[in-house]
Symmetry: C2
Subunit: 237 residues, 2 copies
């Protein structure tokens, strides 16, 4: 007799495959990075066929990459007119920052009450790596910075929360790349990171929250200056 497993649907396998990254996904990642790093300028027109030529592919994968970028508000698709890198909006960045603060503060509080020692060790380690970044290697620092924040979120199992933050960060990182040299000094950022971990390790949600809050408010200081320095890259709002 056969045990008939009730297969209600041709549902996806539990096993994961080594995902073959499609062309459209590769394009998406590539273009996303270029927009965030400012290599593609806010306001610049992107052409499906032009990019298809550049990457020796057809328009379709490019088009699908555009759709994903548009979902993330990094480009805007105007039907029958063109696709453009969205200009940065001061109001939008501040709104995004607000959301990020709300989420990360909540995550920090949670971490302070339930983070494992291994996670704290990992965070300390990341801070050491941040200290070791040589002057001028800002991109390297940005990667470590992102990993720091991600580690906190994942340490308390908040993968979804991190996914949301990841999108929001894209908008904020565009600002950081504009002011790589004269933004908040790295030692100050590192000190703020240290205070956050201190709060978490001490099991003190209030301190961890406050440290996270003040850390994430740095951008509100530099943003107006940057907007004034690069008026062409910003929405006139």
């Amino acid at each position: 007799m056969q045990v008939t497993a009730k297969i209600q649907q041709p549902s996806p396998r539990a096993f994961q495959h080594i995902e073959p990254v499609s062309i459209s996904t590769q394009l998406y990642r590539h273009l996303r990075g270029a927009v965030i790093r400012g290599e593609l300028h806010p306001g610049q027109a992107l052409s499906e066929s032009e990019i298809a030529r550049q990457y020796s592919t057809s328009r379709q994968p490019v088009r699908e990459a555009f759709i994903k970028l548009a979902e993330e508000r990094l480009v805007i698709i105007l039907p029958q007119r063109g696709t453009f890198v969205v200009k940065i909006s001061v109001a939008d960045v501040l709104d995004a920052r607000f959301v990020r603060e709300a989420i990360e503060v909540a995550v920090a509080q949670e971490a302070a009450t339930s983070a494992q020692p291994t996670a704290i060790k990992e965070l300390r380690n990341l801070i050491e790596q941040q200290k070791a970044v040589e002057h001028g290697h800002n991109e390297e620092f940005l990667a470590l910075d992102e990993e720091f924040h991600r580690t906190i979120a994942l340490s308390v199992g908040r993968a979804h929360a991190w996914r949301v933050i990841e999108n929001i960060k894209a908008q904020m990182d565009r600002i950081r790349y504009l002011s790589l040299d004269d933004a908040t000094p790295l030692p100050l950022i590192i000190e703020q990171h240290t205070r956050i971990v201190d709060g978490i390790e001490a099991g003190d949600p209030t301190t961890a929250a406050a440290a996270t809050r003040s850390h994430l408010r740095e951008i509100t200081v530099s943003l107006p200056n940057i907007a004034a320095r690069f008026p062409d890259l910003f929405e006139s709002d």
Copy 2:
């Protein structure tokens, strides 16, 4: 002599057009609603060609609608295998709820300090409409519920925050549609809404925050029961 306006980029017009909604966008909205309402069952396979036939269009718009749904984690696209309505994951819903609480609590606090009287009037009005919903017309109530939360966010200019919540809500609403009849009683929800507005009107961020928090925690009570009642619709995690 001609005044040459410096047109630096072929940037998009400031004027908005009446957007001609593309087929792929229509499909996206349609399918999104169907997934949230549970008309398309978690785990169910969707086929590009099948849906294209149903809506008398080609596969391409369907495909692009799928991509947007996948970005929202409502479907999962497995290359060369199929596209499936994602099963509901208890852990994911709880994680989404966590994020939503973080954002909406922050918004409520802000509203308590800076909401305009017209906004409060609008909120009171929405509550009255909620009271007027006849027994059994739950979909109508859900729409008013969504408008209530959106109104709070927009009253303090947090459009971006609302956009994030809108995505998150999709996951949570799938649960609500599963338990339309025996979920939290409507009068209780209305009372919670009232407490939130009371806090906002009183200019008391602490009360507004607390009211929002407990309101958004309702789902944690009903979720386990629902998951136990519809095991097929949930990820086994």
